[in-house]
Symmetry: C2
Subunit: 198 residues, 2 copies
């Protein structure tokens, strides 16, 4: 019998995606749920809502709260947390490389390493040196970054972002099981429970 | 020794405030936390963010998700749920009456009755007949609605809304313990735990 399946949508610039990226592998294993990781870009989705950048930048009260909430949640979850100077980061290169990395057995570890570089070490993931360092630390083949820059891979990321919009996604992280959408790290448990039920 | 104290900020038009209004009394009692209920108006706070109405109306994908999420959360919590035709409701009269009602021992019950009328019976709480019916069902004194319409009470609601903005509130429900802000029904447990710790 196939295992229950869920799709995990995340954006590398998204603070709350950090929480899910770190929590998900162990939780999915425990729940017996198979998860497809799909990095996508929030930029085009925010632009369609009329936003030129993150709502946490556009709405300062919401942004101030988010940083406090992240610090508290990370402390509760035992995750290191350091606020990067640049927010939101440009997560384009990270997403392109992750898309290739996720075809490799250490792909999820690469994603965790990139999120850790950004939100535990406060490094700028737009810097190709940081991404190359994360790939090296994860033990990924050195040609992966070149493959990530191929036209085929760029088109695949655009297609994933279009698919996210078509699924009704408006933020990250999000989780889908068929047409059922769960938004936010706070719904990770509910999404896994739903995946187990069907 | 005084009991730990928390302030609960809510808006009568807010769907997720329904969840907290229904859950809070039993949870606060169990936690031994004393709670001050402060109904306020999100309208002026949204207007300061440049929004003319609820973000769930301004952003259709977010709105569609919210209704689905509410239906799921209510089912999980064992709460009745019916989507009212009018959203967001004008919660001005409800907030004014609640402010007076909360000086009465059955004030929290009145708030629960109004939220139930809106989100379990799909009635329009802008209708004074609905509010009067809720007051009667709660067993509140009949003159309460007249007192609610006094200039003193109107000014008090404006002052509460100003105080909410000054505390950095940007949505509802919210919970504060001193300067520490928790936003959303999903943070009710964390807010009570924080109140217990200090």
């Amino acid at each position: 019998m196939p295992r229950p399946a869920m799709t995990f949508w995340f954006e590398f610039a998204s603070t709350y995606s950090y929480l899910s990226v770190m929590r998900l592998p162990a939780m999915a294993r425990a729940a017996g749920v198979s998860v497809r990781w799909r990095p996508f870009l929030l930029g085009p989705i925010f632009a369609a809502q009329g936003w030129s950048t993150s709502p946490f930048t556009l709405y300062p009260a919401k942004g101030a709260y988010m940083w406090r909430d992240m610090a508290r949640r990370c402390a509760e979850l035992g995750l290191d947390f350091a606020r990067p100077a640049q927010f939101p980061a440009n997560g384009l290169l990270a997403a392109r490389v992750a898309q290739v990395a996720l075809t490799h057995p250490r792909g999820e570890t690469f994603c965790q390493t990139v999120f850790g570089a950004q939100f535990a070490e406060a490094r700028d993931i737009a810097d190709p040196v940081v991404i190359a360092d994360c790939a090296a630390r994860t033990g990924l083949p050195a040609d992966m970054i070149e493959i990530a820059r191929s036209d085929t891979n760029k088109a695949a990321l655009r297609a994933t972002t279009d698919a996210a919009a078509q699924q009704g996604l408006f933020g990250a992280p999000s989780f889908t099981i068929g047409d059922e959408l769960f938004w936010g790290d706070d719904r990770l448990e509910a999404a896994l429970a739903h995946a187990q039920r069907i």
